[in-house]
């Protein structure tokens, strides 16, 4: 993303953030979770009664759910009563006062990614007053979206301002009964993004939450809902390439996408949460439920993710292809190094006729990183002529890392055509020697080879994001061959 784009996003969200922060400055809740806490959250956000009811139902259901154990990741049990589910942003005097106080390694990475100083301060959570050079830019940006009838705001705002839409669609793709972490999120989510693209509108710009990270405490249980009406198009970017520090260890977000007839949603993520120290201590647990519903005929949902951060990742952006001729895509690059563990993949549920899905998953493991691809392709009985193409490639960069593949295929209609290709390769000493012999230094050779490996995924990212992703990969994997 260019600096201009970032500034725009920053500015569009500023108004809300400022209001939000002033509003709750005095409030904190002690760690622990019960119905009173949920009532407190709902009241603080001035939510309507139905929203509170929904949260409470989710909570009561969650209490009955077992903690999922099936993922190929290992961590000590989480004490859900030790987490504070609502806390005011830190007061300035408790925050680092300047970049000199943060981890020099983090600072170095920011510099190498070419992030401007004031943005570095925000990412690192330094106490600063945001200074914006042009308010008019933001105004025209918001005006432009409004002109098109597009709604792009925080989830809290949407609940207040667009209750009918939220009520209709929230939980329609990921119900609170879906899984343990989605259930928890439904009960306690504090914020997130809401996007509504009306019929026939092509969103004129990439939408992004980039700078919402500034409000650190909304990130923990984030809830995002994107609705694309008939014939509309939208491309949404989430996250940023810069490493993000966060004191919240558990992140359980839910993202729901709905595409009506002929609508297209492209959702791109670059995730670079703190992975923990060399032993994996203190890293973020990223347990996310992302699902898109191709509700209409000829609709299309495309997920692209570049996952380099977090201590543990548990994430399966999926598509439910209900409309006839609908298309689901999943492009993923995941990197695990140090002590990182990732169990990630996708689900493609074919329900409509002539539905098509594509899965391209590239896993890179280095150091002691452990990575599993887990993917489900299901062809339901009525999905005539469904097609799926899956490709899972793993690259190993050390003798101590691991790559695992768990493909599930469930075909209930004989007209289906499925293809599955999988490769595992060790980054070759021969490849590196070959590059060296042409004058290319080893570090550059590794980045060349890895970027080549990830190319099919990177090219699905919006242009500027792709450039950043490449650079991120370079820095992430520096010195990883061994």
């Amino acid at each position: 993303m260019s600096a201009t784009t970032k500034t725009l996003e920053e500015l569009t969200n500023r108004k809300y953030e400022a209001g939000f922060i002033t509003d709750i400055e005095q409030d904190t809740v002690p760690p622990g979770l019960d119905e009173d806490i949920i009532r407190f959250i709902s009241r603080k956000k001035a939510e309507p009664e139905w929203m509170l009811e929904w949260r409470l139902k989710a909570y009561r259901n969650w209490l009955q759910m077992p903690v999922p154990k099936w993922a190929n990741v290992h961590y000590p049990p989480i004490d859900f009563q030790a987490i504070s589910y609502y806390s005011a942003p830190k007061r300035k005097e408790d925050m680092p006062q300047s970049l000199d106080e943060i981890d020099p390694k983090l600072k170095e990475t920011y510099d190498r990614l070419g992030i401007p100083l004031h943005e570095q301060e925000m990412l690192a959570g330094v106490a600063v007053d945001a200074v914006f050079d042009s308010v008019s830019v933001a105004t025209s940006y918001k005006a432009k979206l409004k002109e098109e009838g597009i709604v792009f705001c925080s989830m809290s705002e949407a609940i207040r301002e667009h209750p009918d839409l939220v009520r209709k669609y929230l939980g329609s793709v990921v119900p609170y009964t879906d899984n343990y972490y989605a259930g928890l999120n439904s009960a306690v989510f504090t914020d997130g993004s809401f996007v509504f693209i009306p019929k026939g509108v092509r969103c004129p710009m990439e939408l992004s939450t980039y700078f919402r990270i500034n409000a650190a405490n909304t990130g923990q249980f984030e809830r995002t809902l994107i609705i694309a009406e008939e014939g509309s198009h939208v491309s949404y970017l989430e996250g940023c390439t810069a490493p993000v520090r966060d004191e919240n260890q558990l992140h359980a977000a839910v993202v729901e996408l709905i595409a009506l007839d002929d609508a297209q949603i492209k959702y791109s993520t670059v995730q670079n949460w703190y992975p923990g120290d060399e032993e994996g201590r203190g890293g973020v647990y990223n347990f996310v439920t992302k699902r898109g519903l191709c509700a209409g005929n000829n609709s299309k949902i495309s997920w692209t993710q570049v996952e380099t951060g977090s201590a543990i990742t548990w994430k399966y952006p999926s598509c439910v292809l209900r409309g006839d001729n609908s298309v689901g895509e999943f492009y993923s690059v995941a990197v695990t190094r140090g002590r990182q563990q990732a169990d990630t993949g996708t689900k493609m549920i074919h329900m409509g006729k002539n539905t098509r899905s594509t899965i391209v998953s590239k896993g890179i493991s280095a150091g002691h990183g452990q990575q599993s691809y887990r993917g489900l392709v299901r062809i339901t009985p009525k999905a005539e002529n469904a097609r799926n193409y899956s490709q899972c490639d793993s690259m190993l960069m050390s003798a101590t890392c691991g790559a695992h593949t768990f493909p599930y295929i469930d075909v209930q209609n004989p007209t289906a055509q499925l293809e599955h290709e999988a490769t595992t390769s060790k980054i070759g000493e021969e490849q590196i020697l070959y590059c060296n012999q042409r004058g290319i230094a080893t570090e550059d050779a590794v980045s060349l080879i890895v970027n080549g490996f990830c190319k099919e995924v990177f090219r699905t990212l919006p242009m500027e994001f792709a450039v950043e992703a490449q650079k991120l990969m370079e820095i992430t994997l520096e010195g990883s061959v061994g």
Partner: protein
Amino acid sequence: MALLEIRNLHARIQGVEILKGIDLAIERGETHAIMGPNGSGKSTLAKVLAGDPSYEVTGGEVYFQDRNLLELAPEDRAREGVFLGFQYPVEIPGVSNTYFLKAALNAIRKYRGEKELDAMEFLQLIKERAKSVKLDEALLRRPVNDGFSGGEKKRNEIFQLAMLEPYLAILDETDSGLDIDALRTVAEGVNSLRSEERGFLVITHYQRLLSYIIPDKVHVLLHGRIVKSGGKELAEELEGSGYALFDEAAA
């Protein structure tokens, strides 16, 4: 001083000694051929000169344009002007030939204190050189060696040689796996690149290649040592008698 001077070179891999004292000097403008049966150490010599870390040099010296080659990292040897045409060129999926060569050429230029080429200059050069070695331009856009036929891979090596303009080009069994037409094209490419400035070390199993690339000197490598050196007629002699004759002489 010679372009390349190898003195009493010993090298081993996984504890097994393969090179047992090689002496060889190549002058600028000369083309030398090394012939020998399988396992004689031909490819080992090529890889040791390129700096393949799987080989351990246990003795001897190698000077390239007065620089101690063995002290240099593989990429620096390349930047100094040593090129190895690989017997089995590796594939680098997702990285276009053009991109790869631009990275390589500019790394070399930077090392030599020359201006790096911009995209336009580079594109012009690459098209010109592709034409000169009769490489299909479509191959420039394809990932490095990925899905190339055997002949295309070898031709691509010669094309890279033409692009990088080294002072010494070592060709490791460039003829293996080529049919006669491909062999001729590759040889023509090599011949077009011979110059007074550049030395060639052509490693081959068969005399066949040497009817197209006429060497100035031929060396017979056997059990890790050069057992005989001579002019181009030595290659023909070998074709008639085989290596057995030398084997006895060596023993």
